[in-house]
């Protein structure tokens, strides 16, 4: 078990290293240039532009820039932002932004699981009932409707027409309601469908019929057999969706004007703030690697058939 974890972590390190090289190359290969964005329409001369390039170390070959970045990283230095917060340390920028993003995602995850598990099970048991139809239609819409559209419509309805909730920002806790709801919508829809399918499948299995024949009550049947078996796909999907958390958050943070990591990421990409992009991507890569590992470990707990050697 320990050996397995160590090997997986080592593989993860290699993956993270490769991701950092690819990101670095892509950012530098992309057309456009931070200096030209930085000076905008200011009256500058070529000398000034060269001066800035030199100051920012952009006049060096790309591999050199990469090695310098890697060297700093190994010493625990994520570098400095050039553009989105000139002179500020990247570590601080991330430290400021990350808690909000984590909070939003955990809240969304919590509510979607809390909602989707019971809803999926009920829909699975009461097949072709009204509840079942509603859950199917609802979860189809939830997956199909784009996040930004739902977000805008929810702002128009709850912020502008009804006036119940703030249209943007986090002036009070009510500011969390819409972003978390929209963020959770997608998860809830996917998980409800999964849970419904899994429940139906398990209920059709012969061992369930056997268990019923033995006289096992509905509640015991659900908790011992149905939920336990249905959890497996749920865990898979949650683990796999960790990789997409940031992309979902970018939209939500942009529409609702929330100062999280998604905004840091999109701003730094658009403004070619290389060091910041590198750090965020690195962080994301780590989260994905750890998320995958954790998923695999949870499998062994949920599914006794899976054994790690």
């Amino acid at each position: 078990m320990l050996r397995y974890v160590v090997v997986r972590l080592a593989q993860g390190l290699v993956a993270i290293f490769l991701v950092s090289i690819v990101t670095f190359s892509l950012m530098h290969l992309a057309p456009g240039d931070p200096v030209s964005l930085f000076v905008g329409e200011a009256q500058v001369t070529q000398e000034q532009v060269d001066m800035l390039r030199h100051k920012w170390g952009l006049d060096q070959p790309v591999y050199r820039q990469y090695l310098r970045w890697l060297g700093n990283l190994l010493r625990g230095d994520f570098g400095q932002s050039l553009i989105i917060r000139p002179g500020a340390s990247v570590a601080n920028i991330i430290k400021e932004a990350a808690p909000l993003t984590i909070k939003l995602n955990l809240l969304a995850l919590f509510f979607s699981v809390a909602l989707a598990l019971p809803a999926g099970i009920i829909a699975g048991i009461k097949r072709n009932s009204l509840f079942d139809y509603v859950s199917v239609v609802g979860s189809t819409l939830g997956v199909a409707l784009p996040n930004f559209w739902v977000a805008l419509v929810s702002i128009i309805v709850f912020g502008s027409m009804l006036g119940w909730l703030p249209t943007y920002g986090l002036s009070s806790w009510t500011g969390y309601i819409l972003p978390v709801a929209v963020l959770a919508l997608d998860h809830t829809a996917v998980l409800t469908r999964l849970m419904r399918g899994a429940t139906q499948e398990v209920l059709g299995q012969e061992y369930v019929t056997t268990a019923r024949a033995k006289g096992l009550g509905q509640a015991a049947l659900l908790s011992r057999h149905v939920v336990r078996n249905a959890l497996l796909p749920i865990v898979t999907v949650i683990g796999y969706r960790i990789a997409f958390l940031l992309s979902g958050t970018i939209v939500i943070e942009t529409v609702f004007a929330l100062p999280g990591l998604g905004r840091v990421f999109i701003n730094s990409v658009y403004r070619f703030d290389y060091q910041v992009v590198q750090a965020v991507v690195l962080l994301l890569a780590i989260v994905v690697v750890l998320g995958n590992l954790l998923t695999d470990l949870v499998y062994t707990y949920v599914d006794p058939r899976i054994r790690i050697r």
Partner: protein
């Protein structure tokens, strides 16, 4: 937002989104149109290339009369000013810092200008206003400027402002090592000297007529503080002489300024001045409607501007910008090198139709490089290009460009064909380019449209044949000099335009300090641009600045709507409005 802000809590007059606008919005959103503003907002990094925006650095972007029929609320006309409250403005992206170096983009400028002052400042009508200087004198030869400073001015930390701060600031901007965005504003400056605590003398090695508008308007930073903490720290904790001082700064969320009690023009009526970051343009419009903000510094979508204006609940300043919407053309290509070809293109395009079809009529036709709102510099008597496709064909025939079998003209084996770059995700200018493409095709010119991430950079490096974006070709801050864009060696000479006569005129214009004689030179520059057509000058976009009716003490009118934020030291909030 903090809870202790009385003014954003109650909606202004109960305006709600009507059902109709909601349906329209929802429909737009469903067809995917709403996704575009979002993407555009995300792309706000390159501000001069953001579709619905004024170029970075061009804070003085607007111009002409406050729109007829939407009269601005005159200060004092509606009751006595009341002290208190927080003015809430909206920006679209992070505020990276608050030093004068960060004041290029409009949103950052709107904050930096509350914190700092210049010796002179440009007001909302492009007039020079003496602020930290009481008066100034310019020697006849244009080589010496003498500024007499205002006395008894305090910085936010209580220290007195004097001539040493001016010398320090100007020297800092001039020093190439600081790579300041203001460095060029001090071109030609030989020395800056404090002859006594309240007199500063600037000597030039050669005349630079643009110095007053560019250099003397640079913000003053305190020597005793800036020299101690350094630029990196200063931009996070600036200290100026302005009416508001920094209270709290959270780059990605908001910037909060508070009234400076010892401000030399008196304490402002507002207790606080706040900027909230709201990236999505339609959300900014909704926030104005619900009363959660008083004004959006960053532009809204054209249709939102028109809709909000129609509600009658806002004071609207509206004027065409000084930056021109244009197609730079790479003159190094043989098919674009002849001025006859470029003139023919001007005749071939129905610009008014483009304005009406693509921009809801919210723009005015350009006649040359200087915007008509710069009344003292604008030359209306230049060659004009009314829509006349027959004339275009005639010129092209005469110049030897004959129509080939595929309908595209050619000459000496060169096809009259080129590619125009539009900025990726630019939902405003892509349709513009496509319309122009059709007009050009009618006269046998083939223009392909291709999306590119960095149009201005691509033109600068000569990678692109043509592009479409907005830029100022002289006129920024009311100063007509276009050396950056029209001189042969100009850094932003996107068209790679080379004209000895133009270079001469530009140099003369900067050497001449007599306003009358200067005007003649810039008249000729405009005539030469209209003759040579270095780029296809299309139009000036209408620039809107809206304030909730609660905001009083606004200027009567503004040629440059965004510059009205500079007057926040006179604003007050009417609790009864």
């Amino acid at each position: 937002m903090d809870a202790h802000e009385p003014f954003h809590l109650h909606p202004l007059g109960g305006r709600k989104t009507t059902r109709r606008t909601f349906v329209v919005r929802a429909a737009l959103a469903l067809t995917g149109a709403a996704s575009l503003p979002l993407l555009a907002a995300c792309g706000g990094g390159s501000s001069e290339e953001n579709p619905a925006t004024e170029p970075a650095g061009d804070q003085t972007g607007g111009s002409t009369q406050a729109s007829p029929g939407t009269g601005s609320s005159g200060s004092g006309a509606q009751g006595e000013p009341v002290r208190g409250g927080t003015l809430i403005t909206l920006g679209h992206t992070d505020v990276p810092g608050l030093s004068p170096e960060d004041a290029g983009p409009t949103v950052e400028w709107s904050l930096v200008t509350q914190i700092h002052n210049g010796l002179l400042e440009i007001d909302e009508n492009y007039e020079l206003e003496s602020v930290l200087a009481e008066r100034h004198e310019v020697a006849e030869d244009g080589l010496t400027y003498t500024f007499t400073l205002r006395q008894g001015v305090k910085f936010h930390d209580g220290e007195e402002f004097n001539a040493d701060d001016v010398v320090y600031s100007y020297e800092w901007y001039r020093n190439p090592e600081n790579a300041s965005i203001e460095q060029q504003s001090f071109a030609g400056v030989e020395s800056v000297e404090a002859t006594d605590p309240y007199t500063v003398v600037v000597r030039m090695s050669e005349p630079n007529a643009a110095f007053l508008i560019r250099g003397a308007t640079a913000f003053i930073i305190p020597e005793h503080y800036h020299s101690q903490v350094g630029q990196d720290q200063y931009r996070t904790a600036p200290i100026g002489t302005g009416a508001f001082k920094l209270k709290e700064w959270r780059a990605a969320e908001y910037t909060l300024l508070e009234a400076f009690d010892d401000h030399f023009r008196g304490r402002p009526y507002l207790d606080e001045y706040r900027l909230n970051v709201v990236p999505e343009p339609s959300v900014r419009a909704i926030a104005l409607e619900t009363g959660e903000a008083h004004s959006s510094v960053w532009q809204l979508a054209v249709e939102d501007n028109q809709r909000l204006e129609a509600t009658g609940e806002f004071t609207v300043f509206k004027a065409p910008s000084v930056s021109v919407n244009h197609f730079p053309l790479n003159h190094n290509l043989p098919q674009l090198a002849e001025k006859e070809v470029r003139q023919a293109m001007m005749y071939a395009i129905d610009r008014q139709a483009v304005i009406d079809d693509v921009f809801n009529g919210e723009a005015v036709i350009a006649t040359s490089n200087i915007a008509p709102v710069l009344e003292s510099w604008y030359n209306p008597n230049v060659k004009e290009y009314p829509y006349d496709p027959d004339e275009a064909r005639r010129i092209l025939d005469e110049a030897g460009w004959t129509v080939g079998s595929d309908g595209i003209r050619e000459k000496n084996g060169v096809k009259l064909s080129f590619t125009c770059g539009v900025i990726t995700g630019d939902q405003a200018r892509r349709p513009e380019a496509e319309l122009v493409q059709q007009y050009l095709r009618e006269v046998g010119i083939d223009m392909q449209v291709r999306e590119v991430p960095d149009a201005s950079g691509g033109m600068r490096q000569g990678d692109l044949d043509a592009a479409v974006f907005n830029w100022t070709y002289g006129g920024s801050g009311g100063e007509p000099d276009p050396s950056d864009t029209l001189r042969s060696d100009g850094f932003n000479n996107f068209s790679h335009y080379r004209s000895e006569r133009m270079d001469e005129l530009i140099d003369q214009g900067l050497r001449e300090v007599d306003p009358e004689k200067r005007r003649e030179i810039y008249n000729e520059i405009q005539a030469l641009v209209a003759e040579d057509v270095p780029f296809l000058y299309m139009m000036y976009w209408q620039w809107y600045t809206l304030y909730s009716k609660q905001v009083k003490g606004l200027p009567e009118s503004a040629l440059s709507p965004t510059q009205t934020y500079r007057k926040a030291y006179q604003f007050w909030l009417d609790p009864n409005a």
